[in-house]
């Protein structure tokens, strides 16, 4: 095995022919050269971002409109639980939307131009089930959602079936049910993560280990 001969031979291996395209040809629509496809990709990405922004604004506007609408009905005097649960629910939805946006932005922000070791470290962070910060963000979102929905479920939906003396028991029962649903959600998410992401995380960690510093005893 002669390294230098092989290197020389290897240098003759070239990339397959591919139409790169020029600024002129790429200006037209529907070109199948590389530049045209890359431009199309940029346009797709911009359109996707625009769509997401519009959807986010529509959802936020809808929530604000619903809240203001309920709060401004003159024939139905506002009372504390309704205002409270609407406010907390609104805060919960806005918070969840923010948390999802944060997550998606982090996922989309893969920097392929960084050194391999940093790339693997970042990939590891993306594939970990939940980081401490994710637990805080998720628990806060679930807490807001639970607090916002509790008065609605217990106070508005169940009040025709339960008396005021059972109100506290209903709140506790609802709390337990909510925690159970959240725990099941977490369990299913973890199970899916173990099936899909854990093997990839193991691969990333193996690669990271393979890059670890070792004593230079064999270097010549």
């Amino acid at each position: 095995m002669e390294w230098n001969d092989l290197k020389n031979e290897l240098g003759k291996v070239g990339a397959p022919d591919m139409r790169l395209g020029s600024a002129d040809s790429a200006a037209g629509c529907g070109g199948d050269d590389l530049i045209s496809r890359l431009r199309a990709r940029d346009a797709e990405e911009a359109a996707r971002l625009k769509q997401a922004r519009i959807l986010f604004c529509v959802a936020a506007g809808f929530m604000a409109f619903a809240f203001l609408g309920i709060a401004s009905i003159p024939s139905q005097p506002l009372y504390a639980p309704r205002v409270l649960h609407q406010g907390v629910l609104l805060a919960a939805f806005v918070y969840i939307a923010w948390a999802l946006r944060r997550k998606l932005r982090n996922l989309a922000k893969v920097d392929y131009a960084q050194p391999v070791r940093s790339f693997l470290e970042q990939a590891e962070q993306r594939y970990i089930f939940m980081r401490p910060a994710d637990y805080v963000v998720t628990l806060l979102g679930l807490l807001l959602l639970g607090l916002g929905s509790a008065p609605y479920v217990v106070g508005l939906l169940l009040r025709r079936y339960i008396g005021p003396e059972q109100y506290l028991a209903a709140v506790v029962l609802y709390g337990l049910f909510y925690v159970l649903v959240c725990a099941m959600g977490l369990w299913f998410t973890r199970r899916d993560w173990e099936r899909d992401k854990l093997p990839l995380l193991a691969d990333i960690r193996r690669m990271k280990d393979a890059l670890k510093e070792e004593p230079a005893d064999e270097a010549s």
Binding site: M1, W3, L6, K7, E9, L10, G11, V13, G14, A15, P16, L20, A23, A26, L34, I35, L38, R41, V110, D111, Y112, A113, Q114, P115, V116, R117, S118, F119, L120, A123, R195, D196, P199, L200, D203, I204, R206, M207, A210, L211, E213, E214, P215, A216, E218, A219, S220
Partner: protein
């Protein structure tokens, strides 16, 4: 220089080197070309964030290597999905399918070298692919985010392993 001109300059100077690194990762020609185009796409997308704090060649190799490592993980996920559905995992192309010389247009010893490289773990494949591209230790250290001494040790070990594989496969290959 606008984005397109920059991309063209990078393409002209590095396309063959990028392709050869891709060859070190996958054997199937279709998969290779898919990977090659994915690298070019990432180069295009990363151009806006290129600040010029490293050589263009080094920057391109970082993207190439990171894309190859990421690509292997993606293929694995696709294979898992197919396997779960009871389909033939080979249908998604594991990149280890034979690559006939008439398709790849490579000489037998180069094809044999790639067969040996494919038997190495991903990180070792990456190291040897960069080494075969005549990349200096300092530049490799920059691509990998390691110290030059460490790179030297790694290359020494990988070459030793590769030589062993080359000798073992010799009878069957020639």
């Amino acid at each position: 220089m606008d984005k397109e001109s920059q991309f063209k300059a990078i393409w002209q100077a590095n396309r063959d080197r990028i392709y050869r690194v891709c060859c070190g990762y996958v054997r199937d020609e279709d998969v290779r070309q898919d990977l090659f185009q994915t690298v070019l796409l990432h180069v295009w997308e990363s151009l806006e964030t290129y600040r010029g704090d490293s050589q263009v060649g080094t920057w391109v190799f970082r993207i190439t290597v990171n894309t190859c490592l990421g690509y292997l993980r993606t293929r694995r996920r696709q294979q898992n999905l197919w396997t779960q559905r009871g389909e033939d995992a080979g249908r998604v192309g594991n990149g280890l399918a034979p690559c006939p010389t008439e398709v790849c247009g490579m000489r037998d010893d180069i094809e044999r070298l790639y067969i040996c490289i494919h038997q190495l773990p991903p990180v070792e494949r990456m190291l040897i692919s960069l080494h075969l591209e005549e990349m200096g230790t300092e530049e490799m250290a920059d691509v990998l985010g390691l110290s030059p001494d460490h790179v030297r040790v790694k290359i020494h070990r990988v070459k030793k392993v590769l030589r062993g594989i080359w000798e073992r496969t010799g009878d069957g290959m020639e």
